[in-house]
Symmetry: C2
Subunit: 346 residues, 2 copies
């Protein structure tokens, strides 16, 4: 059985910098994708047009066969003028990280209202706002990593109300509440879903650091909501893998004083993985919409066979590699050692 | 400042077997305690009176200065006759593990009604039923490690209603729901609380395997409920450390296919740790009740200076050891590298 996917696009991916970037950037193509929407949380974060263009040039040097859509990191240095410059330069979005909730988010934002002039400019020039939708944990208010996303949703509603024409993407939704919130918003609000959040629940990352990521996978009912919204074919939900490579030693080991890195790495197996997952819950028929049509429509990106159609073949259990690269920077993919039911036809 | 604690008693502790037992059993005394209520989840589990007596003899050989109260592991081999024999032999309780929820629980129970004749005999001879109060995860019913305890509580109510005179201890409560359930029961139902669940929330074990245990630490509001019930001095709540040593390499490392061991090790620092925690939330005045009086009253164990009063001294930051023992079986204590505000006066 052969399944053809037109122009697969990953609308949320971490391609890092330095030697790990050289390793993982070609995995976008290896995983079946020819468009990568690139996150700006480098060290230091990508906060200017010039940095973003330089980063894009580095990625194109590593693998010129992929289209890289670039983003800026929302921070106090970002001005309406810089937004206009960024738009001119072809930069697509601005990513907002609440402070301290995930990898390299120390420069993240604390309150949105200070950024309203920036959002106003983004709405005007039609740039996309990408939201990491969690609020920081706070024991006094019973805010923790399991309810950090639902508690963020009032911010989503407020931003959408204040800037109804601003295109907003709630990134890597993990809860039923988030799915319902995005549905309740207008056509300018969309939502990415990762592959791994279609597979994991809290039980899977408890004591298992390779499955630990931010936002953490939630309860079975939340996973069910993510699966359902794909199955029903809602047009404003699409794939953003949040593929986030870390060297194996940072994932496998904790010390009593420091935990493991947050992030699940799916790039090199992404399209077969998504096909395997969608098939497992009866949504394989929506594969093209989920990994291409919906996201490309929202981002005004052409869907075309010429860009690159990818053929998937149904197989009986192809093993996933144990790791990619070599020590000390080898990276372990999600589901390492498990098997996939689909493979890309070379 | 000196604080005297009379007859500290740990009503839930794992003393293991073999060489790790030799290492950790003396830590009961080191941590300030002279009574240990010993869990039966060895390999194979302690299911008979003879096994329990043999295990007790092994522990007494390692450290004869501690009183060991022994328990049996509830399983289909346990009969009313064996209960009477156990009572005669001085065995105090029977521990129930739902199948598969924690370390060495593969022989745990699946349904309680089959055990009603055993419980009837326990009620008759006045043995204690110790409940690991979690139901197994089940995605279809949205049951996961965070709600496994609240979903167990109907079993507690049902057992208490069926056997109103049977003394029952809900072990290592971690949720507000469990605290309220135990309060709502009659005087034959009590509850242990660990030291580490007074410190941790879900944020602390996410990606940090040394803080991972079962039941997992829950939300800040649940931790607040545990603290409140100690602060209010409720007589049916008392310390059971659930101190559960694992070799460091089983705690520190995950592989993609297997996670780390569940368990937090507090024995060697237990009394100073509990004092530090209780002081942190304004309950140091209830230290004697929590670590001695309440539990001893429930278990009909004498409180007396002669058994051993322990003096604690207020200090400014005594460092906790990084580990105990030597490779490959060294064990890392809870809060390794952090400091305590109290120490035992030698």
């Amino acid at each position: 059985m052969i399944f053809t996917v037109n122009s697969p696009a990953d609308f949320h991916v971490h391609l890092r910098q330095g030697s790990i970037s050289t390793l993982v950037t070609p995995h976008v193509r290896k995983g079946g994708f020819n468009l990568a929407y690139v996150m700006p949380n480098l060290t230091p974060p990508v906060t200017t047009t010039d940095q973003a263009l330089e980063y894009k040039a580095q990625l194109e040097k590593i693998d010129p066969s992929v289209t890289y859509l670039m983003t800026l990191y929302l921070s106090p240095t970002l001005t309406p003028e810089e937004i206009r410059k960024a738009k001119e330069a072809g930069i697509v979005g601005v990513k907002s990280y609440p402070r301290g909730v995930t990898t390299n988010s120390d420069s993240g934002i604390e309150s949105y209202e200070a950024y309203y002039p920036v959002f106003e400019a983004m709405q005007e020039v039609d740039m996309v706002l990408n939201l990491h939708g969690e609020i920081p944990s706070n024991a006094e208010h019973n805010t923790h990593i399991l309810n950090a996303e639902p508690k963020f949703l009032p911010h989503l509603y407020a931003l959408h109300a204040a800037f109804p024409k601003l295109r907003i993407v709630l990134e890597h939704a993990t809860t039923r509440a988030a799915v319902e919130a995005v549905k309740a918003c207008g056509p300018t609000v969309a939502c990415t879903i990762t592959a791994h959040h279609l597979a994991l629940t809290v039980d899977d990352w408890a004591g298992q650091s390779f499955n630990f990521c931010k936002p953490v996978a939630k309860y079975p009912d939340d996973r069910a909501a993510l699966r359902e919204v794909i199955k029903e074919g809602h047009p404003r939900f699409f794939l953003g893998s949040d593929s986030a490579p870390h060297p194996m030693h940072k994932k496998s080991t904790s010390t009593p004083t420091s935990g493991c890195a947050a992030g699940v790495y799916t790039s090199p197996i992404l399209l077969p993985l998504v096909a395997t997952l969608l098939e497992s819950f009866g949504a394989i028929g929506n594969l093209n919409d989920f990994v291409s049509n919906n996201g490309r429509a929202f981002y005004n990106q052409v869907v075309s066979e010429e860009i690159g159609s990818v053929q998937l073949r149904r197989v009986s259990g192809v093993a996933i590699a144990e790791s990619y690269g070599s020590d000390p920077e080898s990276v372990v993919p999600f589901w390492a050692g498990k098997t996939l039911d689909w493979e890309i036809v070379s």
